[in-house]
Subunit: 213 residues, 4 copies
DNA sequence: AATGAATGAGAGTTCATTCAT
DNA sequence: GATGAATGAACTCTCATTCAT
């Protein structure tokens, strides 16, 4: 990889002991995110992470139990960011397929602003499976609420709760694969999602899920 | 992991030199497949593979250039098997959504019979990206032909070719994630896909894609 | 080979971190020199070197990039030692053939005190060619200065500058081959150079180079 | 290295058993010479040699005990060639310094016609020390006879027999180092020896050895 | 809390040699 | 005599983790 440039050495001067520790923790976590985004989990060595964070290798172990520990915290950290972003992006009055479309677009917005998220999310199934499971649990739970409300509003018909869960997995999977195919360039970078892909998604989901039975 | 048990030591007695070599090659390839299925690409060491195949480590390098080399051959090898299986499973007279349902079921049949295929396929994006790209190319091309014929038969309406490609990615992605959620047990094993998941898939795809515009 | 005996375990107690690191570096370098002296570059494995230095194999790579790296540093390290030794041995008032004789004797003195130097120097052409080239450049440059001054003093006549360079190579080559034949015992050890060899060298060089034209 | 091109598959058709064996032996020996000339002893693997000779790896061991065995035979094989060449090149009526000059030129002639000889000779001290010793014994013995005759003719004065041996080593060493500096290009190739180097050698040796005491 | 040298297990790979065919 | 697949010891190098400073 092209060597990443270290983060700013320390933030401001005069930080309390506590602030400094918190700052170091965050620096390590964000360095890890950048390294994983650039090189993938497999090549995210402790030495790369600490070099990027500007601390000694031993310091790492004052903040994380093991290398795996920091890898496990990456997806929760960025996943929450992503959910916050999507939440903020959804206008309150949107309903039905339009709401789903907005969610879909917001996801790709976030991806474009945080290219590292692609690898962190998609490699997590392999390298941080617990974090991946938990991330999915949160996502699916959120979706269940959202689709449940759509069912109540009569926008979705003909799907049992069990079936809706399966549909949620299909929606989430679509994001991943469309990102893989249309957005990810194979080396850490991303581009905007082509309009016809959005059209296809919206059409497919509208007919498949929201269309009047 | 629980140590895998070695393959039968040699096959029959009396094999010609050529047969023996072919046998060793196949034993190594299938050992690699089992190890990757069990432990993932990252932990598929040459030593594990040769131990399982019952040959010396050096023998490995008579058949593969590098460790990566064998990893790259896994997905083509099993991917072809899978496509053959699906091809054989499709009754000729099936059309429309029923044909897609048969394809879907056949995929999960194959997965249940070859549990290692799950990891080989889903980790390939990371560990054997070239093989992964090629595998997808074949899959997508096949699907394009199939959906193209459905369009000609008037079973699918309202999707441009570009949009259909995006839809194909959604169909393929659905398989993956539904496998991940409902079939894969997290440690190399698989179970049958619950009926309601099949129902949900069929319903969603029928409405989304095949329903009369 | 007869296993070499490890260096003293640590030096003194109470060394600062920096001192300890410097000590480890030196121990590794000198262990490498002894191993090469004993077994040659080809058989100087990292494992032998670290065993002799009394450190773990991994430690080696905290100080040298690769095995080749340490091999490349051996000749510069000992070559400088040798030149210092020769420089210190030359009385200021010596001139002409006597000065060359002193240089010649000083070289063999050094060789006897550092038997490893023989292999380090003579195998370097093959195993550390860059270091060898550089070493020769330094040697030849030094000689050019020395012979140039002899020419100015009128002690050498009848040789062009180009020819003198060729003569320098002959002088350096004589050292090597005489060491090979009369000093080196074939297994890392050395003995004193017989007097008649010194006589022959002095006679040959005096007549060949310094004799009045 | 640039892959060497294999020797002609077999010579003529219809060779007796004995001839075929002798042919294979020679093919292996000459392949070894080419490989060593190109890549050096250290990288002359049995596999490279047999590939170049166009035989299977196992065949090698029908002709040579070990890899070292063939390496040990290289210098005797080419050394004899070289001596024959020099012998043929020396006009019978040459004497004194002129005879030595002719010998010197003939050596470099041979070197230019057989570039592989450079590495075979100069690496032999390290990789085939016994062969190297033997080669030198032959060379020195020959030289002793030649210089002894020069002494008898009164062309050389003032050197004892012991001293003459040392001088012989100096003459042989000069060839090597002058070849290293002026003829060898660092990657298997050679060029002609510059005239001023020949001049310097002749001048040095004439004055040093042959000049009237 | 921060450091960074030291550790050592384990990885991938090479290759001279053997031997059944 | 020729073959070439099989062997296994030995190699260089990596890196998560520890711990004395």
């Amino acid at each position: 990889m092209s060597e990443l440039t270290p983060l700013r050495p320390v933030k401001q001067r005069r930080m309390s002991r506590d602030e400094k520790a918190r700052d170091t923790y965050k620096r390590l976590l964000e360095s890890a995110a950048r390294v994983v985004g650039e090189d993938g989990y497999a090549d995210a060595s402790v030495s790369k992470i600490t070099r990027l964070a500007g601390v000694a290798q031993g310091t790492f172990y004052n903040y994380f139990e093991t290398r795996q520990d920091v890898l496990d915290r990456l997806l929760p950290y960025m996943g929450r960011q992503m959910l916050d972003h999507i939440g903020r992006s959804l206008a309150h009055d949107l309903t039905g397929a339009e709401r789903e479309e907005a969610r879909f677009r917001a996801f790709f917005d976030y991806l474009n602003e945080h290219p590292a998220f692609y690898r962190i999310l998609y490699e997590a199934e392999i390298f941080a499976p617990d974090a991946h499971d938990e991330h999915f649990r949160i996502l699916v739970d959120g979706y269940k609420g959202a689709l449940g409300r759509a069912v109540e509003r009569g926008e979705i018909k003909g799907y049992s709760d069990q079936e809706l869960e399966a549909v949620i997995y299909m929606l989430l999977s679509a994001r991943s694969y469309l990102a893989m195919r249309y957005v990810h360039d194979g080396k850490g970078g991303t581009g905007p999602l082509p309009g016809h892909v959005i059209d296809a998604y919206v059409k497919f989901v509208t007919r498949g899920l929201f269309a009047a039975g």
